[in-house]
């Protein structure tokens, strides 16, 4: 056992800490995708956006010395990729799922290309707030070192929930997602609504990527994200397009993703790779349980190609 004082309690503690630390990218991507999908379009390219966000945040933070500038750059990069997705999708007869796959490959390729010189240098990282000051146990303190982005993400979920329900913009996005004819009849351009929704979704995903490179794991390399973006897209589906459920699901996913490293820290190394695949297995399992071939999913935007 790695440490005697806590013994096997290290594992749930590390999973709890992981739920906080690892869940942030899941949270941002899923909230962003939630907005995009509510407007009636699915953006599978967020995997690429996440990696591009991570790369640009790291690069800008390295060049400017300010990690927050990096976060902003990541968001803008994400929004630009979102605009590209929406722009291509607004052409007639273009399939949004296929465009997402293309942008997934394009985003990762571009990030690897531009990020080549960034593997060596160390960029300024985002600060953490120490919520574990009351405890003497180092593991507890480590688990409670929380980044501001996580708090922003947590605050964002209820705000989005409220915005979808009551604001004019929320209603417009939902209208575009439920019936583009209705939105058009009201005199709004569905394409413009979806463009903005996809850009906001890309912005949030980019920020999720900046968390990866600037806080946890906190460096830039080509293996930084392996499928976290796509997992988060799947997460939106079983969170039933509800921002609050996205929050809980992201936390559960962060915990699952932290399971592998946590078990390794107490000396269980045999199934390391399988435990690392826990989020994907969990996603698949939850999708199998919650989906049904007979009915469309409750809460699904009617215009969404993935549910039709």
């Amino acid at each position: 056992m790695a440490d005697g004082s806590l013994g096997l309690w290290t594992v749930p503690l590390a999973v709890f800490g992981g739920a906080i630390r690892v869940s942030t990218p899941f949270l941002f991507v899923s909230l962003g995708e939630c907005i995009t999908e509510r407007s009636g379009r699915i953006n599978l390219g967020l995997e690429g956006t996440l990696v591009m966000g991570a790369m640009s945040a790291y690069g800008i933070s390295y060049l400017s010395g300010s990690p927050w500038l990096g976060v902003l750059a990541a968001g803008i990069t994400g929004a630009m990729l979102g605009a590209l997705h929406a722009g291509i999708c607004s052409l007639p007869r273009v399939n949004d799922i296929a465009v997402g796959i293309a942008l997934m490959l394009f985003g990762t390729g571009l990030a690897f290309y531009l990020g080549k010189p960034l593997i060596e240098p160390t960029a300024a990282r985002l600060p953490a707030i120490d919520f574990g000051w009351w405890s003497d146990v180092p593991q507890v303190r480590a688990a409670l070192r929380i980044n501001v982005l996580f708090l922003i993400g947590i605050a964002l979920a209820p705000i989005l929930y409220w915005a979808f329900k009551t604001t004019r913009w929320g209603l417009l996005i939902r209208t575009a997602g439920e019936s583009s004819d209705a939105a058009r009849a009201m005199g709004y351009s569905v394409l413009a609504i979806r463009l903005r929704a996809t850009m906001v979704g890309g912005f949030l995903s980019g920020i999720g990527g900046s968390f990866l490179s600037l806080f946890y794991p906190g460096s830039w390399n080509e293996g930084l994200s392996s499928g976290q973006g796509i997992t988060a897209v799947a997460l939106v589906i079983f969170a039933r397009w509800d921002p609050m459920l996205c929050l809980w699901a992201s936390l559960a996913f962060g915990g699952a993703a932290a399971l592998g490293p946590a078990l390794q820290s107490v000396g269980v190394t045999s199934g390391y790779h399988l435990f690392n695949a826990a989020p994907y297995i969990l996603t698949l399992a939850i999708m199998i349980i919650t989906c049904s071939p007979k009915r469309t999913l409750t809460g699904a935007p009617a215009e969404l190609s993935i549910t039709r």
Partner: protein, 369 residues
């Protein structure tokens, strides 16, 4: 990036004879060649601009790309060697596409196929090479086939979106491979790069005589031709295309849609599984993480560029194989990072999808009904 707005102009420039009968017969075929071709040119131009931003000469880029892909006999062989797995993984996307499914998990089926083929080969050290190789092909097909069938079954029986599930299965497949390669199947002698034991030199499938191109290319060509015949010249393929066009009509005329989907998914995964088997039996000689080289993902692009036509996949795979073969030369001569091939692939993909909007809109081809 503008999305191929210059393409129609370019397409008009190469008008064939304006005989309406000719256009009626071949208009659609011309479109299928002209539009992706124009998208490709647009993508290459954009990529040229992209590298120009980094101070490289685009003309040098095109020259070295041609040189590295098709310039010499050596580069042709390199290109064809890379095209072989691309044909097979492209079929993994193209076959389900006939049924209207978007499967992007070819990489996972490739890995599982490679793992199954290696396991079978290691389990029968006493058998003669021909027996081992046959068993490896079967194991690759079954392993990869069942992997994609899982995605198809989940969609058909549980309504799980097959695009997402097949991609998740890639990551799960990679985890299974790493788990076995670093655990139960690890060769104790492989220290730096955990690998399985070697399948043995006698069991390798070797090269096509007179070339350095391995027999995987023949597997790919046979699979592509067989898929073409299956889809366009058999009742089974016809029912698949009916079901892909209109699932309700297919049910009304009594087609077994479940069976169709599962069979097609099995064949699709089987093709990618053979790609994995070939990579083991012709290149690596063992299973390790090197197998996850991205052939599965490039295969998706090949399938889309070929518009899911099994025969068109062959030249497109050679083209994309050439692009990835030229990566090394671009790295050495122009100092471009190895990811530049990925960037170019991404740009091509974006352009090809955007060009979908052009079908049926090119003025001089309107002669067709």
């Amino acid at each position: 990036m503008t999305t191929g707005s210059a393409d129609p102009v370019e397409a008009v420039g190469v008008a064939p004879a304006a005989d309406p009968g000719f256009l009626q017969r071949y208009g659609a075929t011309i479109e299928y060649i002209l539009i992706p071709g124009a998208a490709l040119v647009g993508a290459l131009a954009t990529f040229g601009l992209f590298v120009a931003l980094f101070g490289k000469n685009p003309l040098d880029l095109y020259f070295y790309m041609y040189q590295g892909a098709f310039g010499t006999w050596f580069s042709w062989q390199n290109t064809l060697t890379r095209a072989a797995p691309l044909i097979l993984t492209a079929l993994c996307t193209a076959l389900p596409a006939q049924l209207g499914m978007v499967i992007i998990g070819g990489e996972g089926a490739l890995l599982i196929g490679a793992l199954s083929a290696t396991s079978v080969a290691l389990a029968m050290p006493w058998a003669s090479p021909l027996v081992v190789q046959t068993a490896m092909v079967c194991a690759g097909v079954i392993g990869g086939g069942l992997w994609i069938t899982l995605a198809g079954a989940l969609r058909q029986y549980r309504g799980v979106n097959e695009t997402i599930s097949s991609l998740l299965l890639v990551y799960i497949g990679l985890a299974v491979l790493n788990h076995l390669v670093e655990g139960a199947m690890r060769d104790p002698a492989s220290l730096n790069k955990p690998s399985t034991r070697e399948i043995g030199a006698a069991n390798m499938i070797g090269s096509i005589p007179g070339t350095d191109v391995h027999w995987g290319l023949a597997f790919g060509l046979v699979a592509a031709f067989a898929s073409y015949i299956l889809i366009y010249h058999t009742v089974f393929g016809f029912s698949a295309r009916v079901a892909g066009g209109n699932i309700r009509a297919a049910k009304i005329v009594g087609l077994g849609v479940n069976k169709l989907i599962l069979t097609i998914c099995f064949l699709a995964g089987g093709a990618a599984g053979i790609a994995g088997m070939v990579e083991v039996a012709a290149v690596q000689g063992r299973t390790n993480a090197n197998l996850a080289a991205g052939y599965g993902f490039t295969g998706i692009l090949v399938a889309f560029l070929a518009r899911h036509n099994p025969l068109a996949i062959i030249p497109v795979a050679i083209l994309l194989g050439g692009i990835s073969a030229s990566g090394g030369l671009l790295q050495r001569r122009l100092g471009l990072p190895d990811a530049s091939v990925l960037v170019l692939q991404g740009i091509i993909f974006v352009f090809v999808l955007a060009s979908d909007a052009l079908y049926g809109r090119i003025g001089f081809l309107k002669g067709k009904s």
